[in-house]
């Protein structure tokens, strides 16, 4: 009877040890993919061209108008017509610089590198199973309707897979809308589109680089929390 009890106890202990070894994550393999292309700001430069025709019409009307009204119409027309062309050209140049800067970003690659680098220091290798961390970028880029305020947003979701079993799934969102933003993420970088375009889109590239690190830091933090007993 005593021998039988000891054998059952040994079996229970060994089963427990096996389950523990299986449950412990020793190392991580990261994959990152983007579900969508980068969000581009709206090109509103064409809207200014609507003032061109009325401006030219005022100018022409001024040539035929009585002297009392002529100067006002000509000057007004000259301000409105060429002014619309100039402002439209400037706006289009700004939009192009932002789009080019967004096009130069390798967001997926940067996040993957940041994840691997941060995991190497924060989640050291240990004995256990190899887990997969899949991060899907649902969206990133510059959004906003008004040219004086557009925001760089990023939305991603990651899941931790041990074998075929999903043990953790979290969404991380850096957004200007409070309802969409994750509680632990900082506010999105918002500014005028002109500010984003300065120095060939320096703020676009800097924000993307910082978001890559930030997303990686938030993922690693949650993996670290999940790993703690």
């Amino acid at each position: 009877m005593k021998i039988m009890t000891t054998a059952i106890l040994c079996l229970i202990l060994s089963t427990g040890t096996q389950a523990g070894a299986q449950g412990v994550v020793g190392s991580y393999e990261f994959t990152v993919r983007a579900a969508n292309l980068a969000e581009l700001p709206k090109d509103t430069s064409g809207e200014f061209l609507e003032f061109f025709a009325p401006g030219m019409a005022f100018g022409v009307l001024g040539l035929a108008a009585p002297p009392m009204y002529a100067s006002g119409l000509v000057v007004g027309g000259l301000l409105l017509g060429p002014g619309a062309l100039i402002i439209s050209g400037i706006e289009h140049g700004i939009w192009q610089r932002v789009v080019q800067a967004l096009g130069s970003i390798e967001f997926e690659r940067d996040i993957l590198l940041a994840l691997q680098r941060r995991a190497a220091s924060r989640l050291p290798l240990r004995e256990g199973t190899k887990a997969r961390v899949e991060l899907v970028i649902n969206g990133y880029g510059i959004v906003g309707e008004r040219q004086d305020r557009v925001c760089f947003i990023a939305d991603a979701e990651f899941r931790l897979l041990t074998g075929e079993q999903e043990s953790l799934r979290r969404r991380i969102s850096i957004s200007d809308a409070d309802s969409k933003a994750s509680p632990d993420s900082p506010p999105a970088q918002c500014a005028s589109i002109g500010r984003f375009a300065e120095h060939d889109g320096q703020l676009v590239r800097e924000t993307a680089a910082e978001y890559s690190e930030l997303l990686a830091a938030l993922v690693i933090e949650q993996l670290d929390d999940a790993r703690k007993p």
Partner: protein, 207 residues
């Protein structure tokens, strides 16, 4: 050149916010971490102290000395300080500290000493100007002086927000809102003044 002239004309006509940023390196004092920003990014100064607002109200000396006028100005100053602080924290991600102490001067050494004492990366100074509404006489004078007073009124500063870094005490960022303001209770368009400021380096990347 034509574009610049057109922009200048528009700025004078409509009045707007004007922003200035340093191109020199900006250095935080409360943390050391790898930065993914340009060295001149003001966002590196993640912890800021917002000093009491300097409110310059144009009125008769007698009126300014009235207790209710003093109380109203103090209330407005406190509200503006709180609004600036909240905007910097909620929209730009800065850690802010509302401070009651007044600076002995705005010289670099005084700013640097105050910043170190408060354990912040930078000091935020807010100044507000309120003028008296135009009188009929001023309106008539404007007609006879070819709208010069009007243009001056449109380009007058009504709000200035400056950020100085603690490390050196020097000015690193400044933005102004243009256009004379005579209504003490007028709503201040802070996004227009602070909207283009870089976000603070997030706390997760300062560790």
């Amino acid at each position: 050149m034509t574009r610049l002239a057109a922009l200048l004309a528009l700025m004078v006509l409509f009045g707007c916010a004007r922003e200035w940023r340093t191109s020199e390196p900006v250095q935080p004092t409360t943390y050391v971490a790898q930065s993914y920003r340009a060295v001149s990014s003001v966002g590196r100064l993640s912890r800021l102290a917002v000093m009491p607002v300097r409110l310059n109200a144009e009125a008769d000396a007698e009126q300014l000395a009235l207790p209710e006028s003093i109380a109203q100005r103090q209330r407005l100053a406190r509200e503006l300080q709180a609004s600036v602080s909240a905007y910097l924290a909620n929209q730009k991600g800065y850690e802010t500290l509302n401070v009651d102490m007044t600076l002995p001067s705005i010289e670099a050494s005084a700013i640097s000493a105050a910043g170190q004492r408060l354990n912040v990366d930078g000091i935020v100074l807010v100044e507000r100007w309120i003028v008296q509404p135009w009188s009929t006489a001023k309106g008539i004078l404007n007609v006879f002086t070819l709208n010069i007073p009007l243009y001056r009124a449109l380009s007058a500063v009504n709000l200035r927000i400056s950020i100085h870094e603690t490390m050196s005490g020097r000015l690193v960022w400044q933005s102004e809102s243009k256009g004379e303001e005579s209504d003490l209770n007028a709503k201040i368009d802070l996004p227009r003044v602070l909207g283009d400021l870089d976000n603070a380096v997030p706390a997760q990347l300062r560790r």
